[in-house]
Symmetry: C2
Subunit: 214 residues, 2 copies
DNA sequence: GCGAATCTTACACTCGTTGCAAATTTAGCC
DNA sequence: GGCTAAATTTGCAACGAGTGTAAGATTCGC
């Protein structure tokens, strides 16, 4: 159902929310997250400070709002995969595709956005939490498909490793973004690294990888 | 060098820090982390509130103070391993040993302590950060041993997977502690799960593990 | 002792967050 | 259109974490 199908009250709520969020994002980019106060955002959006905190329970939510797509991405890829495809193959395919189209879900954000997160301990912590939620959702999806004979830890173990791979590559993309690399060069650099990481996930660390001590 | 070898000033600083930390820990256990205020801790320790925040920059540090041993544990196990032993083998051995002796570094804490963390979003976030720092330290240690021919992502990839395994098993121990299990039963339950997880790390997820979709 | 360095303290302040009740706006109905 | 009920916005007050500052107290090196 779209905006047209809701009443005036509900539609105004969406407007107000977007109004606040837009001003917040702009100020965060201009001044940084920690340097911007909620009172400042309220003034810019011409609403009461309490209205801001009514819509967004925590300040972090003003910057990292629509995380639903992010936290659900891995679980969805697993749940939606074709019959016979392994979870690893599905997640690998998903990541490669996301890199090709520079999907924000994979870590592609503007340099300003990446800078905003990197400069803020609060946002960095929140992002860590989102990675965790993503892993939990993945574990639940894997548990749905797990054979009854598998140990109970199996889906969580697979989720931990798969989510760790995605998180590492996400951070790598962020890192290159912060270094000023354009998206196409980032994609070119990360693609072979993704191949390496997912191959590693498939075949294991082995007994002497990355290296036995000389 | 021990306490006896330092001057009066330094020795009093240690006393004051321990005094504050002890009162804080006691109050956290009695009332919960979020329910205890810094002012309350200061009053209990008979010092100024500012003295508390001088010693402990953040409230979380009052509960999770000596994290050095934790964040360095994986990197140290890798750096100290015998010649010829793989990083995976060393970390596996390290974890098994930690479980056998119910080491807090592996996740063994009293039920009250586990409850304190689980009930506090602040402490949970801080613990997440400590897991992250531990992974970073491990990546640095692995990078020291990595052959020059390996891709730059290799040590970070191995660290991400190895740290994810340790984090998962840590959480599992916490979870069983919260469920009221005694340490010996936790160790008995986690040992085979550790075997499973580290085997998985060694051999990889494969192409149809944990399961291809039916 | 005595000056210098350091630690402790009190005070004031900013900011995120919450609770509450009044004022405003919208919804549903006559 | 007008009226009541519900929801939203607002202002105000308060709490708690964290910071800066300057004065007082303690310790150090000589």
């Amino acid at each position: 159902m779209g905006i047209e199908s809701m009443g005036l009250r509900e539609s105004k709520k969406h407007e107000t929310r977007k109004l606040i969020s837009d001003h917040a994002t702009r100020l965060f980019m201009e001044q940084g997250f920690e340097q911007t106060t909620i009172a400042e955002i309220a003034t810019a959006a011409r609403v009461a400070k309490k209205t801001v905190t009514n819509y967004f329970a925590r300040k972090e939510d003003l910057a990292l709002d629509h995380h639903e797509a992010f936290t659900a991405s891995l679980a969805r890829a697993v749940a939606d995969r074709a019959a016979g495809e392994s979870a690893l193959a599905a997640l690998r395919r998903e990541f490669v595709a996301a890199v090709e189209q520079c999907d924000p879900v994979a870590g592609f954000a503007g340099p300003e956005f990446a800078r905003m997160i990197a400069d803020s301990p609060t946002l960095t912590a929140r992002l860590r939490e989102l990675h965790d939620l993503r892993e939990e959702a993945l574990a639940a999806a894997l548990a749905d498909d797990a054979p009854a004979t598998a140990p109970v830890i199996a889906p969580r173990a697979a989720a931990a490793l798969l989510a760790a791979a995605h998180r590492l590559l996400f951070q790598r993309i962020q890192e290159l973004t912060l270094a000023g690399e354009p998206n196409d060069r980032i994609a070119a650099a990360v693609a072979p690294e993704a191949t390496y990481v997912f191959d590693l996930l498939g075949t294991g660390l082995g007994e002497d990888l990355p290296a036995a001590k000389a």
